[in-house]
Symmetry: C2
Subunit: 246 residues, 2 copies
């Protein structure tokens, strides 16, 4: 059989992708029985998968009352960006004195691919609006790939894990709501990546640290502004009862 891993792993991985990509909306309640018949497994691995998602912070589970996909507030999103900024700064500063020529080449390759996708996406946005969110997801992947090279060089596996977890806070609707500000983000990210690259090439740990930190923080500020804007447009009147928090 496809013994690559356990069934609980498979289920958890797929559900995670669907939650992060927004295919499963925030606030959705996940019934064990329902997930069971969808994946053709029994409830045992489904329960394990849901627990793993809870550990990742993607769902909240209340005893005897099931699991619900977390609604990530703008406050939590802001905190996630703050955390990521510090962790990226740490990893980048640690990577600076370890850079080899080969590392630099890999970083350049990742940055080049990111720049390509950025150009594609900007063209796409100018010509029509952005109906296909998979393009954005792909672009975000290339963005992450650049930073992943740095993580690998820094050799701080736990930092890498935590930062990737923080990335997952920016999911689903957030991406869609922030799409209006993406064009601005594109140009800035590209420049900032190149600046970080230069600092790393120069072996300046402190320079790389400051640049990486500011890079993430500025992205966070932009996203926050975009989400506030989107919320102002689409928020229901204040007198309507808001979605009850589980």
């Amino acid at each position: 059989m496809p013994g690559l891993s356990t069934k609980a792993d498979e289920v958890a991985r797929i559900l995670e992708d669907e939650i992060v990509s927004g295919a499963i909306p925030q606030g959705q309640v996940l019934r064990q029985e329902h997930v069971c018949e969808r994946f053709g497994v029994s409830r045992t691995p489904v329960r394990e998968a849901l627990q793993r998602l809870e550990a990742l912070g993607l769902v909240t589970a209340l005893p005897n009352r099931g699991a619900r996909v977390r609604s990530i507030s703008t406050a939590e999103l802001r905190e996630a960006f703050l955390i990521r900024a510090e962790l990226e700064a740490l990893a980048t500063s640690q990577a600076a004195p370890r850079m080899t020529a080969e590392d630099l080449a890999r970083l350049d390759a990742a940055e080049e691919r990111f720049a390509e996708l950025t150009l594609d996406l900007r063209r796409q946005m100018r010509s029509g609006d952005l109906r296909d969110s998979s393009l954005v997801v792909g672009w975000m992947g290339a963005n992450h790939a650049f930073h992943d090279v740095i993580y690998e060089i820094a050799a701080l596996p736990r930092v890498e894990q935590l930062a990737k977890s923080a990335r997952r806070s920016f999911i689903g609707e957030h991406v869609w709501n922030a799409r209006g500000e993406l064009d601005e983000l594109f140009a800035r990210n590209d420049m900032q990546h190149r600046a970080i690259r230069e600092a790393l090439a120069a072996g300046s740990a402190e320079g790389a640290r400051v640049l990486a930190r500011e890079h993430v923080l500025s992205s966070g500020r932009l996203m926050e502004a975009a989400l506030d804007l989107a919320a102002a447009k689409t928020r229901p009147p204040d007198w309507l009862p808001s979605e009850q928090p589980i």
Copy 2:
């Protein structure tokens, strides 16, 4: 029955305490069946508990081969201190502009209690050696309590959670091996806490950030030195096969 929580929660909480305190040594293999009969429950909640511990990073689970309590290397311990330094710095800088008079009073109370325990412990260490590790555990708790006040003021729940997780890397044997350096640590921690307190009282976010960061980093350096020393004393000859890494 005491329906305050599920049995899996109970088992996980107890096992976590025992691993962190060192009652269950690193490298120990946890057999599901064995844990079952010890707690008088079936294997289902035990499996959930072990999975939760794996998510916390306290055990590693190998497919079809059980769960083993992680051996935390000095490299991982060093990384944990680096992470905690950044997170503490972040939380402390965020807390600085939010301090109220009441907050400051709570901080002083926590620091006072910490100073008391520190004095007790130093006396104890001078008079005889430190046979009872529970004193050290209590002292560490008071140390953490000081920082917990800051976390609460900073209102960054995720940062708090991650930092507490990083604390758990310093467990069991580490504490015991580092006991020789505790006296040195005591005096420094007290001074550094007071310095952080003053920066917070002055509302200096950047000052508090730098002090908090240096506070954790200096503790990390001291622990690292102590552990290297302990390892040099007790390490088996290099030609003996070391404990196989699971």
